[in-house]
Symmetry: C2
Subunit: 641 residues, 2 copies
């Protein structure tokens, strides 16, 4: 293995003498390397590439003939040209089964989710017909199942309702929904094309867990209307208003037949989910359970005419495929601005909660596909669709091979729209409510919350803040809390970097944080501090002040113990990847104030960018080139021979 | 020196054999320390302290009797009780000279600066009377000279004028100015008291240099009105509108007598500045030059009656000290909100450009002093005052000993207000213009801009963006550009941390960036990557993808050179100070994808927080505790013995 390697020795080998012998001076001290100067253009291009093309998406295009490049380009935009060529009957079998499974799952969900967005049930089905077809041509993941999802539907409904009342102005409301969907698509495509997707990755995992849990509970609470057969229901979403509405209607508004149907089928759904969880091979049981529930309950209501007993039913579901809606999109006026705003918000949220993040695919290319899909969708009566967590998992387990499973699902939805919608007439609303409750239960991720609690208490506070914000106030406030906390965390990270006092680990030349390694000992007369971040304007003053405080504290300790006074302050710069002019000023200030107290400032292992800038700004000259070392050990060795 | 120290050896000692001998296994491998568990409260308090009390302001209060603590507290809020007790005649001599010097400098400046804020000249003088008195009791710096400053006056004028026209509504304008000053003070005091000053340190040094340069040119251009004796002048501040206004008035609007007076005294002022720069001992020449200019020019106009020739003069300056203005502050209505907004903006800018930043004093305590001073000021007809860069420097050089120099200045201003204002009647406006031009010239810091250009090209673009934004559009747009660029930089820092491939520096056990140290060699079969930032939700995906790209590139190289395939991927975690659940997920994903390709993931030197979290989340178990090492050298040694 190590035949070509230079020897890696000495680091942890025992000292020749365990104790107090003076340290021998190294015959060849290594200089801190100054990287070759780059010109401005090269510098800029490097930063540009690392920022926007860190995954080197054009890698495959290098050194290829023109015709091949064209083919690769086509395949890159339409992956169907890639996997389509090797498609065969065996793959189709897998896709067919997976497609049928997710279709059986999505049809009842779609009808319910459309209601969360305050839209007619048919728009849910529409949105599971056109977008999956577009995605099948352009998307690069084979597992992802496309369609409306619960959280985005709820958020879109909340945002749209804030602008237009869906009950008094249903037509305008619908037009605004299409407008928002159109601009959601445009935003996604633009962010993806310009590789700016990372700009909207601004929610911390903890905030997402909290928000999702809160949204799930909010969605489940909204289902109590259908589940309990309540006629008068609040339009607010906070838990207090909803429970108040539920209990105040308890005397006359509940319908026991509805509750009976809803409760028994919810039990059935939850049981089947449990079975699927226990035995991964039986994943198809929870997958088909919703459709079975719909069929049985519809048939049951039809023969018992339970709707005459007050059991609310779907009543009417339009037949026929998506009508064109291009002329419905607002391209001018007030509603244009509203549509853009809501669309952009929906994208930001949709992206954060989308299933894509867990797949190792090119996020930016994926966003272009989703964007085109929503633009096309908005012109064919669909509202915002994205990748669904739960259905994607089922798709994968059902053995999908390619995006054809989305096409199969799309065809099933098409057939449903063409022929089967009248059959939904007697489907009780309670069943749809039960299906949605069942679908959002996994969003309440208690395991994740426990892990967050264990790993980071501050993160847990963020998680709970978002959670309670959603359930006690509103979805938007919950989101605002989640975003604010995430930003506050970024701000803290940037303005308050960590610093640590280092000590020498016995019998090595390694210097480590003395809090982590209590056995590490400090060299008398020397204080070694590691700064754990780039030094920028945002933290340069803090870093300087914190270092001075470490020094002050150490000096007090040294004085109390009558040890030799501190003569050298070594800053271990390994983690300091960059420095700006403010940072250099802070070092200058520190150097000057130390000089007054006769303490020598020493830098250990400044990185390539830092050493370059220290030279350019002449701070290296001010400090003295002899006071910049490759390692902490090296500098200690130089000063305390 | 090193008598108590453990030996620091081996690190750079030559290998026993220069070349290909297998590396000997170390008999005692150090474990990665896991810090003792902290409870939630302790954890929270530590973070809280490091965030808000990193400078340990209560240090002096520890272990003191109650009475002493009270005294210390009093001295902390009113430092005058501290330095006042040892005040003596010798110190007073220094303060007297310094106070007289800065008074002679500030009086003509004040009159001009008030005009930048679209206020009567007397408000400039008012603001140099009350605020310095308050500061003298509460401020902790002895050098800082208090009063109106050019950039804040310009910005306040711009913000106020956007709300109320000072020509048609002078009374309301004045009231809004007091309201903004009041809330500027309240904001300062609150931020200081809650130790949140760092929240508004959001402008990078480069952006500040650009903004200041642009503001200086904008201020100088505004002075052309007085300097050239133009009667009709544009109200816009951008260079094109101003120059257009200047040249279109050239035929009939300029007054040669005015130009003659202005130009000769500007030459005098600039020459005296040059003399002061060449010989630091003659600093008093530029300090008294403005007052001398005022006296001579006023006398000259008085005897020649040049004002009859079209030379514009001050004409009228109210006699008497600051009237109360408490009842003028808006505490309700629309103007309250406007006043708050403008006040907060003025603070944010004032703080960024304040002289305080360069002094090593407690920034938060200082903000409380400034805040109280502006609150009191707003009630006594003053507008926003702060520490002046240029006058503080003069104060220092004139030998000020304590804040008494501010009191002396204040008394001189008081005497001026009481007795000397009528003398300003014949002062030509051209002189005030020349004094202001002379005062803002040092704000154009070409040296700093050149340094920024040399050190960081991207920073230079930020600097120029702010500069051209101010001079070509407006002060607010320039500020917006400066803030946006600064934020973008923070965002980049957080979302795109650096990573580096490490190699072994020959004859050492040190691993360093191979780009910085071309002599560093990579160990065959091993790829070592250092991640240079905490791994959080904001960058976890990027870090994972970037590591995978390094691996891919390295594998291609290895393949091309027919070297042994890569079996170990070592991540040097020293700079990774923290990790959150998203970051742990990213490591898990990386581990799994490497496992599929039969590559072992190895971690080197995770810090105290990171190792604790890796254990709690069971990632350490998944990875295997044997795959976490203290150093890179240690892990290479283990795998390639």
């Amino acid at each position: 293995m190590a035949s070509r390697a230079h020897p890696v020795d000495g680091d942890l080998s025992p000292a020749t003498d365990g104790g107090d012998l003076p340290i021998k001076s190294s015959p060849h001290r290594h200089k801190v390397g100054i990287p070759p100067k780059q010109n401005m253009f090269h510098d800029f291009m490097y930063t540009f590439k690392e920022t926007f093309f860190h995954d080197d998406p054009l890698r495959h295009f290098k050194d290829q003939p023109k015709s091949k490049q064209f083919m690769l380009g086509l395949q890159s935009v339409f992956p169907v040209f890639d996997w389509g060529r090797s498609y065969n009957l065996k793959k189709f079998r897998g896709d067919l089964i997976a497609g049928l499974t997710i279709a059986s799952l999505c049809i009842p969900q779609d009808i319910g989710y459309a209601k969360l967005a305050n839209l007619d049930p048919k728009y849910g089905l529409y949105s599971s017909f056109v977008p999956p077809l577009v995605y099948a041509c352009m998307g690069s993941s084979r597992d992802i199942a496309i369609g409306p999802v619960a959280v985005v539907s709820l958020l879109l409904g909340t945002l749209l309702r804030a602008e237009i009342d869906p009950n008094t102005n249903p037509d305008e409301y619908l037009r605004l929904a299409f407008t928002a969907t159109f601009f959601a698509g445009v935003t996604e495509a633009a962010l993806g094309f310009f590789r700016l997707g990372f700009l909207i990755d601004f929610l911390s995992h903890a905030a997402v867990v909290g928000f999702m849990g809160g949204a799930a509970i909010t969605i489940a609470l909204q289902q109590l209307k259908g589940f309990l057969g309540i006629k008068q229901f609040t339009k607010k979403t906070d838990i207090i208003a909803v429970l108040d509405s539920v209990f105040s209607s308890a005397r006359h508004g509940w319908n026991w037949q509805t509750i009976l149907i809803g409760a028994s089928f919810l039990t059935f759904l939850l049981t089947s989910k449990l079975i699927g969880k226990k035995n991964k091979k039986l994943f198809w049981i929870p997958a088909v359970a919703p459709l079975i529930s719909v069929i049985i309950s519809t048939f049951f209501v039809y023969i018992t005419r339970a709707d005459k007993q007050g059991v609310q039913i779907v009543k009417h579901l339009d037949k026929g495929i998506n009508p064109s809606s291009f002329d419905q999109i607002y391209f001018s006026g007030d509603n244009l601005a509203k549509g853009i705003r809501i669309g952009v918000e929906a994208v930001a949220i949709g992206r954060t909660f989308a299933a894509m993040k867990d797949y190792q695919i090119d996020g930016n290319k994926e966003m272009v596909a989703l964007g085109v899909m929503n633009v096309v969708g908005s012109m064919s009566s669909c509202y915002v669709a994205t990748g669904s967590f739960s259905r994607s998992a089922v798709n994968f387990m059902a053995g999908c091979q390619t995006a054809v499973s989305n096409i199969i699902m799309s065809i099933v939805v098409l057939l449903t729209l063409l022929f089967l919608t009248p059959l939904f007439k007697y489907t009780p609303n309670a069943i749809l409510a039960a299906i949605i409750i069942n679908a959002v239960v996994p969003l309440i991720d208690i395991q994740a919350a426990i892990l967050i609690f264990k790993v980071d208490k501050l993160d847990f506070i963020a998680c709970m803040g978002a959670f309670f914000g959603v359930i006690f106030v509103s979805v938007e406030i919950g989101l605002l809390i989640a975003v604010s906390i995430s930003f506050a965390k970024i701000l803290l990270q940037v303005t308050r970097p960590r610093t640590a006092v280092l000590g020498n680990i016995p019998r090595t030349s390694v210097y480590r944080n003395i809090q982590q390694y209590p056995e590490a000992t400090m060299v008398p007369g020397v204080l070694t501090i590691r700064v754990d971040s780039a030094i920028y304007f945002s933290n340069s003053n803090y870093v300087r002040e914190r270092i001075q405080r470490w020094l002050l504290e150490e000096e007090e300790k040294v004085k109390a113990a009558s040890l030799p006074r501190i003569q050298f302050l070594i800053i271990e710069m390994s983690p300091v990847t960059d420095i700006d002019t403010s940072g250099i000023h802070a070092l200058e200030d520190l150097y000057k104030s130390l000089q007054k107290r006769d303490i020598q400032l020493v830098l250990a292992n400044p990185g390539p960018l830092v050493i370059g800038k220290l030279h350019l700004s002449h701070f290296a000259d001010m400090l003295g080139h002899d006071n910049i070392f490759l390692t902490v050990a090296d500098s200690v060795e130089s000063y305390c021979p």
